[in-house]
Point group: C2
Chain length 357, copies 2
Amino acid sequence: MWKNELTTLFNINYPIIQAPMAGGPTTSELVAAVSNAGGLGVIAAGYLSPMQLRNQISQVRKLTDKPFGINVFVPANYTADTSKLRKANDLLKPMWEEFQIIEVPVLPTFEQDLDIFEQQINIIMEENIQICSFTFGIPSQEMVTKFKKNSSFLIGTATTVQEAIMIEKAGMDAVVVQGAEAGGHRGTFIGKENQSHIGLMSLIPQAADVISLPLIAAGGIMDGRGIMAARCLGAHAVQMGTAFLVCDESGANTLHKEAIMKASEDQMVLTKAFSGKLARGLHNRFIEEMKPYDEVLPAYPLQNELTKGIRKASAAARSIEYMSLWSGQSPRLAKPLTVRELMNKIIGEAENLHQRL
Amino acid sequence: MWKNELTTLFNINYPIIQAPMAGGPTTSELVAAVSNAGGLGVIAAGYLSPMQLRNQISQVRKLTDKPFGINVFVPANYTADTSKLRKANDLLKPMWEEFQIIEVPVLPTFEQDLDIFEQQINIIMEENIQICSFTFGIPSQEMVTKFKKNSSFLIGTATTVQEAIMIEKAGMDAVVVQGAEAGGHRGTFIGKENQSHIGLMSLIPQAADVISLPLIAAGGIMDGRGIMAARCLGAHAVQMGTAFLVCDESGANTLHKEAIMKASEDQMVLTKAFSGKLARGLHNRFIEEMKPYDEVLPAYPLQNELTKGIRKASAAARSIEYMSLWSGQSPRLAKPLTVRELMNKIIGEAENLHQRL
């Protein structure tokens, strides 16, 4: 029951992809464990320097001889709006003082982001990584052509049918459809950020009707029921974030894992407070305090850099109140297992359900 | 494949329930057609006077001898905040003038709403309607007991797991879990209205794990794929609104039906502009104009009464810009069919999918 176009393309046993979770959770151990268990592990290159990326590729290769992928963030242009930055500084200053943060945040520029992105892509090609996924945009036609010459598989990320259509037109090979349920950053890259929260029950079938590429469903899927449901709706595979984030091999802070496992679905809110870009995570004091200013914060990734020290200091102080506790809308389904245990569990659940249907 | 606890309880052939759509779409023809096709039609008593309700029951009975249900709105206390009302009046005045509306809106009171609700319940009992569903709250323990003596089946509506738990504790018989995808009013009755938009991919399995009552999934489901997916996730039945709203038998304005069939999923936004209560529908000029004031409008049902004339006048002027165009997040799946054609289509799709899985 598990073989399909996409598992064949990726040469994996199960259509289960580990969502690239940038900023800590996606250790080499996690990526390798998912691939070793028959799914597809994915390195989250988003916030990695070229050097870190090269190191992680080599680490993962030591831990598995199975296929794995790499996810990159496509940089979108932004400018440092002085008045927004001043306002954000004013808002964050009390927290910097409270946590005694003396490091001054170093703000990136779009040109630097582009440069890092290109270096990441060069490394992915040099290292001959066959599966590359993109978030926050579509790579240039030139880049797609270059990858194609290398017979790589390219995966785009869409939050609406229109975005999925653009990804297909760009010549990519598969589309992650990110439902409103998903944790972490919204992948929205066109249209209104606030009108791109489509539940998977709606998004998958509507995308499947107009897209001929294989679809990978992401958002709230954490067990065999979700996998079978995604399949019924027209997806070829699922991408799971929160389910893997709470696993033993994940590098997420223990406080983050524990907070998810104690939470309910209605506590997972959308906020721009941490990064300037909309993302879903557990409601806490930082989100509450920044709420009135959500629409006037500096753009991503500026706000992300500004809050970095606070998030780190909060974790160091063993407080979840100023950490970004990304999670999808299914925290009640989170289980503290090893990747292998989780994979066995969900595969077994899906197979049982398949028989009982 | 279609028989389960709930179809047996309701004595229906297919676990497909027509969502009660108050305010026009739910004609007697629609209710009867769904029941005659083997599903469960449901009268939307929400805005009906006791007399209208009694008439509709008798009309439906002339059109079908199959079981059907009735949905009522549980009144929640509200007060007429003078400053909010004045503000809303100021905002709406230009529209009243534009449409030359001279009727002064008559504002209801909570006491009147309660009185109508009790009359509706009395009629439902007198008429011996066996299936009664509730939105916006839970009926009193006294009312539940009275229904139970009558061996009626009571259905509650939940948007979070916590609400579902409360419905189970109240002694009801089934729970509609309304996903974030759903069109029309949010059924939220506890907690924060803005934190109760849970996608069905997350809501169904998390509710199924803690609720032993049969679950009815509502939100974005419009075809056989959705029915099978809901079933995989743990639902016993589906409740479909938009899918039936565009059917021939529905009393929705033709402009409303056509607007849905031309729309995309990202145009279906949440707004309080029409009624003071959050609801999902097609973005239009009225929603855009009222957007800055969404949080300061008079409570439901006051704002609903205030905007009634404008909505009516907009429809009469053949303009969709000031109508409430409720729809779920799957407008691309909407098909202009008769109820019988739609039911045959989705049952066939589900059976095919079941075999191919």
